[in-house]
Symmetry: D3
């Protein structure tokens, strides 16, 4: 296994020969899906794309998976969970476009011989679209039905009570507003400190946050800063606690539902 | 207001002259979106479609709204929130199809002169698709942008602590599995008792209910009966408590964000 | 057959267990397709949807068929056969949308195990679109090709000479303008008298009714009332004569071309 | 008007400078839409395409219209009006494809400055699809709404009683089966005698011709020869009688509903 | 082989019986794809469509191929290779539309039993779109994968040095601007002299011709006449030299990659 | 200009506040489009995506442009210019999908206020698709037409004679096979030496390289290694010569056709 261990887990950095080797030995593939979306004045637009990819890489490091190029353009930001389309730099695609990209990429990976695939999504608004895309890919061609696709839409939704307490104290505001908030900021401080500008972080929230949406977007649904919750409470320590659990949950999911066959299980870094 | 008060709030039962009158006086329109989806051996496949329409009618009764024909075919049932496609009678459409229907209908209603519209969804899996459809409708034509669309995707998600306690005690399992469960069964007992077969209800749940999805569907994600939680605990009383709050929340939402203009506010039943 | 005989023929009112039983015994499915379209000042917008569903139910009552939820949104009303889009309440979808809905629903019903399906259309303008949808469904998946789909686009087009004479005397104007006219009004008087406002019916017609269409719609193509022919001549008696023949023709069609196999023929109410 | 009178009415044979001149003077454009479809053993597959174009040219000759390239691929042949897809050489496109072509071409012609357009269809199965395409074109762009589009879907449907008697005697079988039958064969004898093989014509018809369709196509819906009625009764004389009326009806339609403005009326061959 | 030798190679002029015979004996099919695009003041808008068809017919004359109806509407004219959309008469379709037409037609021809197909394109801008369409057709249905499709996108791109010298001397400007230029004009003089107006030809070119495109189109990218190079240098002799090679290259391609099986090779005019 | 000068040119690493500032001052945006495609055993699958992004960054460094996230999934690899789909790791999307992504992203960037945009493509097969996408974006909404889009499809196609001689000597094989060949390998050695495995490079080529394509792909169109020309001749020096010219050409293009207004020109690093 010399070749592989010396190479990147990133499909984009591999040569086709290395990918062939991975497919031949029964490796799996993780497809990160993120967004290009405002994350307040202190986090980069790629926050979701980076975290999706980071998570895929972290899981791949413990299992025999490679990581396909991240889909950086996700579905439209919704005002109550991402600030909405009004922030410059938020760059989204239509639902149909996102589904087409994910469907095509999954299909091609199956064509390469991969049979264990996972969509690793880190953008609240991509939910249902990435699931439908996986559904369509498996239906599109007879020969694609041999593959298994695990779809993760909210990989940070099941933290332990302790971690939740550490992150949010007694005021967990709901995952929809955990956008450029305590957890995402903490994770970015841990994983991409050079891209975090804590000095610009502001604790903000929308004036109103109802259980429904309205179009055109009412201005009081959208906090001026783009921060939906309290990023100034973020710390590296909180990031570490959350990340450990998120990665473990992903690894467990892959182990449980994309378990390798006897033959392919032999691979272990 | 003689004409209107004597007529149905259902657009489908109205004549075009009555709809014109409604549009002219500035009435709003509610568009119920449901599903045709298994709801266990004790509830009809139309459960979501009926509840969406019931809710729209109940809200319309207190405000100047009419109710467009219910969209009865929703997005694919997902295994962990609806049992998935494996149950006979579950009849879904692709995500693109659902979006096209909702977009077209909204556009046509705006063309009729309605400027206050609301999508009343009662099918967990329709989330994001109905939102995108509303977005597309408002973008499709210059003249459609004058309208306001309120999108409700989970109208039962914010019950009071008391009602939650009454319905679920200390074991609220999450809204995803509240499918043919305590709340939906209670509401159907209240609103459509003739279509409920309590003698066939079974308390069931999937063997596994992870935080992610897998395709093709693992069999242990799907309870044999199609019940995702404990329908035998349903009662009319629970239905009343929940319904009162759900309707009130919908009325409040419409009042807050689709408030009529001075001119059109004059109408009141 | 106790379970079935006690239940509705409407799939939407059935439970999934009942639908499974129907599919298992080889029952067929009827899919009504209508419209939400102006039918003059005296008939409801749902006229086509109701008649499509009524016809499906009437045929189902004599055979082993169940009835899927009616598709209530049809293709655009055309000025010369439905008054066109200018009447408030007329709510149509694009041709592509209608085709997608019908294709998806047929496919899903085939997936449930149904092999004998019929589209029961009662909206002049849906012609060709519903046919194409049936074609696409049978082509979409290898396993869907085992089904048979009967497509009825104009189920009232072959009345006997006697009935034609009873309905129209010597002045049959063509089926295109039999819209909110003598036959449809008579049928609604028979089947939905509570939704008919005969006191508002007016005998009207367009100033011009050429053999071609023009866009944008010339105003003299469209009668002010939306009635394309003489609804005041409608009677329950005429409705009975027409309905008897229309239902008989549908039953005969199903018997002839969706004849059950020996096994499934055993079922009889 | 020297330049134009010396040139073809066929846009395809014109140079762009001549088309510009036509648009500038307010000329109209006719868009023939046909099919590539079996027409029995005696008529060419292009029969519909040729007749659509012939009709457009004949009308153009009497008015200030030019003729766009014929759309030769139409919607699927239906068994009861064209023999269906089972005949080699019948080459159709999906409904969505046909609509896209017609929509795009109409839009481009409007972009060129033409404001009076007509779709001249001669293929029974293209009905509704060409209408929807015209509708979509006028909706697609704000600036395209200035145009007027006349849509003819069945230009031979209103022959005089005398001509009907001459063509069919007392046995008019309906326009759906007038496919490679008496009228079409007579017209081809008149207009394209070199492409007619009368010695191979056979009087044929399907064993059954019900009022509904069935998929997959029952074999007794389809006559073996592809002739749906009695081509051996065709004569040039019948062709002349029919053609005269068909052309006159088309010219009258264009005169009535695409009447030129004062300025553009000046043009006359 | 009497029947075939007496008939046209044009599918549109054949009867379905003749097409069946062709498919049965293993003949191939050529599908010409052109454009309706300005070709200066001296060449007709159909230039590309005519040359595509001429080439298909010339190749068919030497082999056992028939020629399907020409697709006359191609992809948008691009300013630097066709003058762009600003010339009246240039009538294009969207990329998606062109792909749909080509995909559908190829699929239908395969359904007829043809297994050797070639797309003969003569419009610079159709490149990639016709290839994708062929790809999609072969993927669309399991049974369509038995066919072979040869795709020619630039059939005049490999002339001999001698012919290049004869045509262009030392100043070959690149194939992108060989639009209504020396070669196309020469070919039209040879093949369609009646449609060429040499007296109107002008030697023209755009002021700028960079290696990239800009939208909206800068006016200096577009020569006023629509001629992108020097049509006045065209001669019949040049046309003959080029045509001989272009036809030979096409015949060689078909011989090499769509070689007939032993059985079907027997056919020879 | 303190904020900007301290930040990345990569939109993905910027915060929304920084993007707003860029849009407000009139900066332009470059959108790199690449592929995930085999580049022989010595170059990574991301080669096209990396070079597209490198070029965008290099040009941005000299002008006031920022760089949007790279579109890493391009159109299908074609056998004669990229080896085709048969190599593991080559991961493409359909033509329609690529067009949708590019159209959506351009539209969103225009919505942000950017009016000077450029598509920087480095994948031979994306030609025409990226152009159509730009066309569609500018047509999609009235307000998007204010923007200017420069489309570069082959940014390395115009090297000087000296550089061509340095790179290829007298044997330039054509840009289609310059895939994982001398130039691309040289550029990667210059720009991403850590991702180049020169020890695995092989001089290879397809057995046949005709002027047309065939589907399914003939095996002799595809070199076993995926190298289409002679990568072992690559050197850093050749890379430097080519890169200097390619960057200069891109900068000149942007200067010429996306020249800033006086106001926005003030910005200069």
């Amino acid at each position: 296994l010399a070749v592989t261990s010396a190479t990147s887990r990133l499909l984009e950095e591999m040569t086709w020969v290395e990918v062939r080797e991975a497919a031949d030995r029964g490796a799996g593939v993780l497809l990160p899906v993120g967004s290009t979306e405002q994350h307040g004045p202190h986090l980069p637009l790629a926050t979701d794309a980076l975290l999706a990819r980071d998570l895929a890489l972290a899981a791949a490091a413990e299992l025999d998976f490679i990581v396909a190029p991240t889909i950086a353009y996700g579905y439209r930001s919704r005002p109550l969970s991402g600030g909405g389309p009004g922030f410059q730099g938020t760059t989204a695609v239509r639902g149909t476009t996102l589904m087409a990209v994910v469907e095509d990429v999954l299909g091609q990976l199956i064509d390469d011989g991969f049979e264990r695939l996972a969509v690793v999504n880190w953008h609240y608004e991509n939910q249902n679209f990435v699931y439908e895309a996986a559904h369509l890919a498996l239906e599109a061609k007879e020969q694609w039905r041999r593959a298994k696709v695990l779809v993760t839409e909210l990989p940070f939704g099941d933290l332990s009570a302790d971690t939740m307490q550490l992150l949010f104290g007694d005021e967990f505001p709901g995952w929809d507003v955990e956008h450029a908030g305590i957890m995402e900021t903490s994770l970015m401080m841990l994983l991409h400190p050079d891209l975090v500008h804590m000095e610009r972080a502001v604790d903000d929230q929308s004036e109103r946050h109802p259980w429904y949406d309205v179009l055109p977007v009412p201005s009081d649904f959208v906090p001026e800063s783009g921060c939906l919750w309290r990023p100034t409470q973020a710390t590296v320590e909180k990031g570490e606690a959350a990340w450990r659990e998120v990665v473990a949950a992903m690894v467990a999911a892959l182990n449980t539902d994309l378990s390798t066959t006897v033959d392919s299980q032999r691979y272990k870094d």
